[in-house]
């Protein structure tokens, strides 16, 4: 046995731990298999799958490039508008909440209570908010804006808090020593440190909100979701194909743009 082999065997082993975890995961998986009932799969499944595929491959181009209020293009713009406005309002509401839950700004109990509130806002699924707002503002894109704004608060505030807690506070001491007023300290000490991070987080959330806005139509909150589900229920797969193509291309472009902008913001 040479030195290399000795080192190899000297390596600490936690095989038992790994085996136990693997058995637990395997057990959970087998247990979960019982949830599937294959009985619900109907014979017609394959024919529908085929027609969906042919619909996506041969989309309805007139519908896709239609710029009137019924066409895909208009619906996509409406979806973008919902996501954009929702992000802006969500960000405006999230900033005070973020400061209220940053433990280096407010006392600990206040921060804890605000955090609990944010966790609750985050856990409730977006569709539930959508259904609740439909009761308030009726069906339409306006409801979508309200829903998107509310669901963005949770995550935006959480990420804002991280940025606020990372603030470099030594700057305040030096600013105090050269005689800056409180307003100047905020304007030139805090704001420049936070803007880039906040903008980057906002753009990231806009990217996610676009997906949210596209499905909120299912509960009647405007955007492209409603025509999608109508087309599906009517088995008009060509229309489904053109909507899906429009949606995927839009989300893809926005994602690339958002990655590019965020890289630029973070690296300065």
């Amino acid at each position: 046995m040479d030195a290399i082999e000795k080192q190899l065997y000297a390596k600490p082993r936690n095989n038992n731990y790994i085996y136990i975890i693997s058995v637990v995961i395997l057990g959970l998986m087998i247990w979960s298999l019982f949830v599937i009932d294959f009985g619900s799969m109907e014979e017609s499944g394959w024919t529908i799958a085929k027609s969906i595929l042919s619909g996506i491959v041969t989309p309805d181009f007139d519908f896709l490039l239609d710029f009137t209020t019924q066409g895909v293009m208009y619906l996509l713009v409406e979806t973008i508008a919902i996501a954009f406005l929702g992000t802006i309002f969500g960000a405006i509401l999230a900033i005070p909440l973020a400061f209220l839950s940053a433990s280096n700004v407010v006392p600990k109990p206040v921060a804890f209570i605000t955090r609990l509130l944010l966790i609750f806002i985050r856990t409730i699924p977006s569709l539930v908010y959508g259904l609740m707002f439909v009761r308030v503002a009726g069906q339409g894109p306006f409801t979508g804006v309200l829903t998107v704004a509310l669901i963005s608060i949770g995550m935006l505030a959480k990420l804002f808090v991280d940025a606020i807690e990372d603030l470099d506070t030594s700057i305040f001491e030096s600013m105090t020593s050269i005689g800056c007023t409180t307003f100047e300290k905020i304007r030139f000490g805090i704001v420049p440190q936070l803007t880039a991070m906040f903008l980057s987080i906002g753009i990231y959330r806009f990217d996610m909100n676009l997906r949210e806005a596209s499905i909120l139509g299912l509960v009647g909150a405007g955007g492209i979701g409603a025509p999608l589900i109508f087309a599906m229920n009517a088995y008009r797969w060509n229309e489904v194909g053109s909507i899906l193509i429009g949606l995927v291309v839009l989300i893809f472009i926005v994602e690339i743009w958002s990655n590019h902008m965020r890289n630029k913001l973070v690296r300065g």
């Binding site: 998986m29 949830v35 599937i36 009932d37 409730i124 539930v128 306006f142 979508g144 994602e255």
Partner: protein, 271 residues
């Protein structure tokens, strides 16, 4: 382009040198954002009046949810378990299948550009498709029920874990891989012994993180008929039975919180 319209400000220093300061772009960006906000308000018929007159109704609904209806709890266990099982199965299968797909999409391991392109395109398309939409399509193909939900979660996990995994594979150090290849091991074996151990902790952590998110998604999949607790949510809200909805939301929050705590513990341990 911007610098040509608004020429940089020239500053003459005391020693006679001139320095140019670029004009701030903030006003331009602000104007663009304001225009976008205005257009969005026009597009979405945004009205503060509606919010002011009937905004309180939202809080009426929330008030009705408290206190939640505890007698409803026994009806909840089965759908809640269904939701968790759907997300476990979808996440485990999805992250397993993600390994070969990520292998095919990593440009430092697969030399054929076409294979890499196709694999990446496949992952991008899957990832941009909202989960609810794929669940909706799955209910048409596989019928109403938990199978459709599992498929939707499987596809999302595959796309998400696959993308992060191939990025990690590309960032892994290639030294050991090349050394193994040079002594005559096949590429797949070299991947297994040189690259895989490097990315394993991150891969497991990503999969766990994805599982956390999947529990949340699975909760709403029932809305389109793909099984789980979403169906009850839809019914409760439809019949305005807000006390039951409150109970469902409370249970959901507790479940998500528990799963997040457990998974966070393991993720901290992994990295």
């Amino acid at each position: 382009m911007f610098d040509k319209i608004f020429p940089p400000k020239q500053i003459v220093l005391p020693n006679g040198k001139t320095v140019s300061e670029k004009r701030s772009r903030t006003p331009l960006i602000l104007v663009l954002v304001l225009v976008a906000v205005y257009l969005s308000i026009r597009f979405t018929n945004f009205e503060f009046m509606v919010l002011a007159t009937s905004g309180h109704e939202f809080f009426v609904i929330i008030n009705e949810m408290i206190p939640p209806k505890w007698e409803y709890l026994p009806h909840l266990w089965q759908p809640l378990l269904d939701t968790i099982m759907m997300s476990i199965l979808g996440s485990v299968l999805g992250s397993l299948v993600a390994v070969p797909v990520a292998y095919l999409a990593a440009s430092n391991i697969i030399k054929s550009k076409i294979v890499v392109m196709v694999a990446r395109l496949f992952l991008s398309i899957l990832r941009t498709m909202p989960t609810l939409v794929s669940a909706l399509i799955a209910t048409f193909i596989f019928g109403l029920g938990t199978l459709a939900g599992t498929i939707a979660i499987f596809l999302f996990t595959l796309a998400y874990v696959g993308k992060l995994l191939y990025e990690q594979i590309e960032n892994a150090s290639m030294g050991a891989f090349e050394a193994m290849e040079s002594i005559g091991i096949t590429r797949i074996q070299a991947f297994r012994y040189a690259i895989f151990p490097q990315v394993l902790p991150n891969y497991l952590s990503t999969s766990l993180f994805c599982f956390e998110g999947n529990v949340r998604y699975a909760a709403i999949l029932g809305y389109v008929g793909a099984g789980g607790i979403g169906l009850l949510l839809d019914e409760g809200l439809g019949w305005r039975d807000y006390t039951s909805v409150g109970m469902i939301l409370l249970m959901l929050a507790i479940t998500v919180f528990l799963i997040e705590t457990v998974s966070e513990y393991f993720r901290k341990k992994l990295i």
